[in-house]
């Protein structure tokens, strides 16, 4: 049996997490096919065919996929699942929105957010905000699985030349309408895939003070994150939130500034390779996961940090 990966894209390019999901999908079964549903999306189907792990691309191009709604995706996915044992996609807001709709109509109990593939039917997944890991075995004939992208390396993007097969869409769903998308454009690396992340919490006190964070982010070519408290307080927009209900990040370096370290925040960053915490409260729980802790007032420490970085001859990008 084969695995069908649902591609996430913007009608021009594959979104980065599709490459991580491809790695996980090919660990389930090497006969990996990709389903691309888009509008004027030939370049996406081509990009998917160039992933060496991919054996076949099914491409359905239709205006109903212009905004990637779960309702329109689902009817078309269901038309294409017959020959597959597994339907998979990334466990980000795209996949979280989509996959349960597909699973329910296949009468399958979905396995969400896996961090390891143990066998074709057995997976490892975090529960309780990552405070426990469950090994689970799916007994459904057809399995629906979402993949925590940061737990798998991205698949190589070039060198493959899989066959691209055109196919037809399912029914259009009439009771839902896309209105608008407000994407926050940034020249910085994406939070989910950045090598370095620097995050601010309630200790930042206001949105203006995030300038101290962005100055360092510029220097380190880092993405900017935030705790839920900082987002709730309106210091920064929701796309920056790291944690149980935000994004999960696994950078080489994570710098937590003015973040106390609630369980829900730790869930989103504690797998980072090196963690730095800067906080004036020496008892803050963030220090229990930090490799390097600095007990200091962030308003003094951040300008000094920038100054020290400026003194270095070279900085990794």
């Amino acid at each position: 049996m084969s695995v069908l990966l649902i591609a996430e894209h913007n009608n021009t390019d594959l979104r980065p997490f599709t490459f991580n999901a491809a790695t996980a999908a090919s660990k389930i079964n090497e006969d990996l096919h990709v389903l691309v549903l888009g509008n004027k999306s030939d370049s996406v189907a081509k990009a998917a065919s160039e992933i060496p792990l991919v054996k076949k691309v099914i491409h359905v191009d239709n205006e109903i996929f212009d905004n990637f709604t779960a309702e329109n995706y689902t009817s078309t996915i269901l038309k294409h699942v017959d020959n597959y044992s597994h339907i998979v996609c990334s466990a980000n807001t795209f996949g979280k929105n989509l996959m349960p709709r597909v699973a329910a109509l296949l009468d399958t109990s979905q396995v969400s957010d896996i961090v390891n593939v143990i066998s074709e039917d057995t997976f490892l997944r975090p529960i309780y905000a990552g405070n426990a890991f469950a090994t689970v075995k799916s007994t459904d004939k057809k399995k629906c699985v979402t993949i925590r992208p940061t737990s798998f390396d991205p698949a190589p993007s070039t060198g493959g030349s899989a066959e691209i097969v055109k196919s037809e869409p399912g029914d259009k769903f009439e009771s839902s309408k896309f209105v608008k998308r407000e994407e926050i454009k940034s020249d910085r690396p994406e939070l989910g895939t950045a090598r370095v992340v620097i995050s601010g919490g309630r200790g930042m006190q206001n949105s203006d003070n995030f300038k101290l964070i962005s100055a360092i982010a510029d220097k380190l070519n880092a993405a900017i994150g935030a705790s839920r408290a900082a987002v709730d307080a309106g210091y920064i927009t929701n796309d920056h939130q790291v944690g149980q209900t935000g994004k999960v990040v696994v950078p080489d370096l994570y710098i937590a500034v003015g973040i106390s370290g609630a369980i829900q925040h730790l869930a989103g960053m504690k797998e980072s390779k090196v963690i730095v915490a800067i906080n004036k409260d020496g008892e803050a729980p963030i220090f229990s996961v930090a490799d390097y802790g600095l007990e200091a007032d962030l308003f003094e420490a951040l300008p000094q940090f920038l100054e020290e970085l400026n003194k270095l001859n070279s900085i990794q990008k």
Binding site: M99, T108, S109, Q110, D113, A129, K137, L220, T245, E308
Partner: protein, 249 residues
């Protein structure tokens, strides 16, 4: 308009969860339990819509063992009109939960079903989408703003890239984000009044829903522990360590 709100009883969000020594699950004995946090947002939003005059009735439903009734009583104490408890013991997977909710939807005919976007115990993030699928209703997931129109809802959704706005025709399912609103606290008089509000009890088996697990839980383990770090005395020491010891900058 009638709004059905699904609430789940989970280990309180402030509790440091511990794994059982025998690897069969996590410790729940003598552990503080409460309503799944985004389910509180779902109740709050439904009650606000009722207070604005756009809904007539808010019905809270929970699925679980006898103690799960506490979450319905709490919903009643903050403004839900009546409650439903569907009794099931043990773990009920989101697929089975959505099938039970479908039975209740067929019985109650609500115009909207609200619930939290994710339960903080199993972290599945599935139930709302599954219910929408089997009812063939539109879904508005991860909602941070809801505007009720005549025959539709305009919903702002939190997505990885920022915000997305969609319009869904009623009837619809909405799964709520923590930023949707600020849930109110129940006052003591309202807690007392809630005890007199009607709470219907049903059994999952009477509804004809098979709740047998499809996913076998083989074992539950502690996550790998991080090795203890160090405190540095100054910013310059921190930068030196990052450059020369950790080699990450």
């Amino acid at each position: 308009m009638k709004i059905l709100v699904a609430v789940k009883r989970v280990i309180d969000y402030n509790v440091q969860v511990r794994v059982k020594d025998d690897g069969t699950g996590v410790v729940t004995d003598n552990v503080k339990m409460s309503t799944n946090p985004p389910d509180d947002n779902a109740i709050e939003e439904a009650v606000k819509i009722k207070e604005s005059g756009k809904a007539k009735e808010v019905v809270a439903i929970t699925i679980g063992d006898d103690k799960a009734q506490e979450t319905v009583r709490k919903a009643l104490a903050v403004g839900a009109d009546r409650g439903i408890h569907v009794k099931v013991d043990g773990i009920v997977e989101p697929l089975a939960v959505s099938k039970i909710l479908k039975k209740i939807v067929e019985k109650e005919n609500p115009d909207l079903v609200f619930m939290g976007k994710q339960a903080i115990d199993d972290d599945c993030n599935q139930t709302g989408q599954m219910l929408a699928a089997i009812l063939n209703w539109p879904q508005a997931t991860f909602a941070s703003k809801i505007e009720v129109k005549e025959k539709s809802l305009e919903v702002t959704r939190e997505i990885d890239e920022g915000l997305e706005t969609i319009e869904v025709n009623i009837p619809a399912i909405v799964t709520c984000d923590l930023r949707l609103n600020e849930p109110r606290y129940a006052s003591l008089p309202n807690i007392m009044k809630a005890k007199k509000k009607p709470l219907e009890q049903l059994n999952a088996s009477d509804l004809g829903v098979d709740t047998k697990a499809r996913i076998e839980q083989i074992k539950v383990e502690e996550p790998p522990k991080r090795k203890a770090g160090i405190k540095v005395a100054s910013v310059s020491e921190l930068v030196q360590k990052l450059k020369n010891e950790a080699k990450v900058i």
